[in-house]
């Protein structure tokens, strides 16, 4: 068994956190430490166990449970490497928390919208996801959960510096807001780099979602805040929402221009991407993501009749390594993953059947 039954259950859910427009998702994470306990990196296992127990006792409190219906908890050490990778792909665990460390506990809502990690970088890491641009809705939920926990846990707090976190860059609110945004048209027009660089002046950072050789495979970017002190959570969220919405509008305007001025080239790119995914027999993740990105552009612009944005969101998740292994229920080396990924695309896009003899071992002549 390479996947924990609970994680398999999470993997079977649809891509609820992936939306339809250029702004695909919003992620919120809040870091808190329990007062009087050293932060996880320097704490002894006794302190870590105490912190985890306190955190769990608070999470199981009646008024907190009401905010996290149907949650389950697993000791982090019982999760396999594949489980953790899958949780990263599902946006329920940060990549920096995939390593093995003592006394970590992973808590997750059954619907996959909320997760809590105890003893990651901080004692508590609360994380929520939603489709589209949804800061307000997520912050209301996050704030309610944090307030409920704060009634039972005394968090490390400094009157001037706010909530104290292990990373000084998160001190203050301890809040990290991230938007996942799809920007293929701005990439084709050559203006994307400048637009994203300008975000730095506003205290935001843009990073590739799937970095491959320094480039963003699939034209997907994460836009996050790099400051958390000196600004109210709501003000930061609304400021970021405005900026990300402006980029999204610019992307849509550029798409309309492309469709108007360079329709033939646009249709050609969509058709080639469709042809590649429908007929491939071996495809690596980055190439699949780039082709999927163009497919999404086509789906958004009404080029494809039978390929919906929902299909795209499902394929985006399914083509990632841990999801492929989970679907096959076995660890697959890269080459076999590429082959199985291609099979999934052909099945979904009604491509040709496997070539005769494909996948069968070579039998030497007698």
């Amino acid at each position: 068994m390479i996947f924990h039954p609970r994680i398999r259950h999470v993997a079977a859910k649809g891509p609820a956190f992936i939306g339809q427009g250029p702004i695909l998702s919003t992620f919120l994470s809040l870091s808190r430490n329990i007062d009087g306990f050293q932060f996880p990196a320097t704490a002894s296992s006794n302190i870590l166990e105490s912190a985890a127990e306190l955190g769990l006792a608070a999470l199981h409190h009646e008024d907190v449970r009401g905010l996290l219906p149907s949650m389950f908890q697993i000791k982090h050490e019982l999760l396999t490497v594949s489980d953790r990778e899958l949780l990263v792909e599902r946006e329920l665990l940060d990549r920096s928390h995939t390593d093995t460390a003592p006394c970590r506990v992973f808590v997750c809502a059954e619907d996959g919208s909320t997760s809590v990690l105890m003893n990651g970088d901080d004692h508590l890491w609360l994380h929520m996801t939603a489709a589209g641009s949804a800061f307000r809705e997520l912050w209301d939920r996050m704030s309610a959960l944090e307030s409920a926990l704060a009634r039972h846990l005394r968090f490390a707090f400094h009157p001037r510096l706010g909530y104290l976190t292990s990373a000084a860059s998160l001190a203050g609110t301890g809040l990290k807001i991230t938007f996942l945004i799809h920007l293929p048209a701005l990439g084709l027009s050559g203006r994307r780099k400048k637009i994203l660089e300008r975000l730095e002046d506003a205290g935001l950072t843009a990073a590739p979602y799937f970095p491959v050789d320094g480039k963003a495979a699939g034209n997907l970017f994460l836009i996050s805040n790099s400051t958390s002190l000196g600004e109210r959570e709501e003000d930061l969220g609304l400021r970021m929402t405005k900026m990300v919405s402006a980029i999204s509008r610019e992307e849509e305007r550029t798409r309309a221009e492309l469709l108007g001025n360079q329709k033939l080239l646009f249709l050609n790119a969509c058709g080639r991407a469709y042809g590649l995914l429908r007929n491939t027999y071996l495809i690596p993740t980055s190439e699949a993501l780039d082709a999927l990105s163009i497919m999404k552009l086509g789906a958004d612009s009404g080029v494809f009749r039978h390929f919906t944005r929902q299909d795209w969101a499902e394929l985006l998740l399914e083509c990632q390594p841990a999801h492929l292994c989970c679907r096959k229920n076995m660890n697959l080396p890269p080459l076999e993953r590429g082959e199985y990924r291609a099979t999934c695309f052909r099945e979904r896009l009604h491509g040709p059947e496997p070539a005769p003899g494909a996948g069968e071992p070579d039998v030497p002549d007698a």
Binding site: H4, P5, R6, N33, D35, F37, Q38, F39, A41, T42, S44, N46, I47, E49, S50, A52, E53, L54, L56, A57, Q73, I74, K75, L78, V105, D121, S143, E146, S147, A150, R151, H152, L153, R154, F155, A156, F157, H158, P159, R160, L161, G162, Y163, L164, S166, A167, A168, S169, A171, G172, T173, L175, G203, T227, S228, L229, G230, E231, R232, E233
Partner: protein, 218 residues
């Protein structure tokens, strides 16, 4: 009396000096020739004065900059030397390790490195004063008897473990044996009731075994 170098008739009343590539050239002209060439005594004098002032200011600024830079460098080296020794008395995190990783070990680090960290945070962030959510006034954290008892036990365990190490170092073996027994008792108590249950998916009902069932060991 010096005659104008242009008309060579009138007395020269305006003297223009130009220094180029280290060479000094002087032009002596009369007021009429100067007017014809749009040179006034005042403007020349002013431009020379301004030029001189500018050069002087630049020279002073350069030397001041150099001195300031030297002073700044000296001060920085002194600060760096001091910072190398700085360590949190609670968790042992050094200021050097914070510089490398950007991470602190406990809440006390913020107090102990405060003077060095707060100006940096002000530059890094939107401001230097928190203005978001604040914790509630009353917290019931310590009122859960089961949890707080276990936390107290763990704190006692930490204290005893340190004492054990110390007694072994001092070769006080009777005390060490006593501490060891107390540590074992606390560990047994803590292990008897684990408060972090692991919730795995409900297991499938056991399959019915065909045939005669479990073999008895002989």
């Amino acid at each position: 009396m010096m005659l104008c170098q242009i008309c060579k008739a009138n007395p020269a009343t305006i003297h223009i000096q130009e220094i180029a590539n280290g060479e000094r050239n002087t032009l002596h002209i009369c007021a009429d020739c100067a007017r014809k060439r749009n040179i006034s005594e005042d403007s020349e004098a002013n431009s020379h004065f301004h030029e001189m002032l500018e050069r002087l200011t630049q020279a002073i600024a350069n030397s001041a900059d150099l001195k300031l830079a030297e002073l700044f460098e000296q001060k920085k080296n002194q600060e760096d030397e001091k910072q190398q020794d700085l360590a949190c008395t609670v968790c042992g995190t050094t200021f050097q390790s914070y510089r490398k990783t950007g991470k602190l070990g406990c809440a006390a680090c913020y107090e102990q490195f405060g003077q060095l960290i707060i100006p940096e945070l002000a530059l890094l962030h939107h401001g230097s004063v928190h203005c978001g959510k604040t914790p509630p006034e009353t917290v019931e954290q310590w009122q859960d008897p089961a949890v707080s008892e276990r936390i107290n036990l763990r704190r006692e365990l930490e204290r005893l473990c340190k004492g054990l190490d110390e007694s072994i170092r001092r070769e006080e073996f009777e005390l060490a044996a006593e501490l060891r027994d107390r540590i074992s008792a606390i560990e047994a108590e803590l292990n008897s009731a684990e408060l972090i249950p692991d919730e795995s998916a409900p297991e499938a009902p056991p399959k019915k075994t065909r045939g005669r069932g479990r073999r008895k060991s002989t």
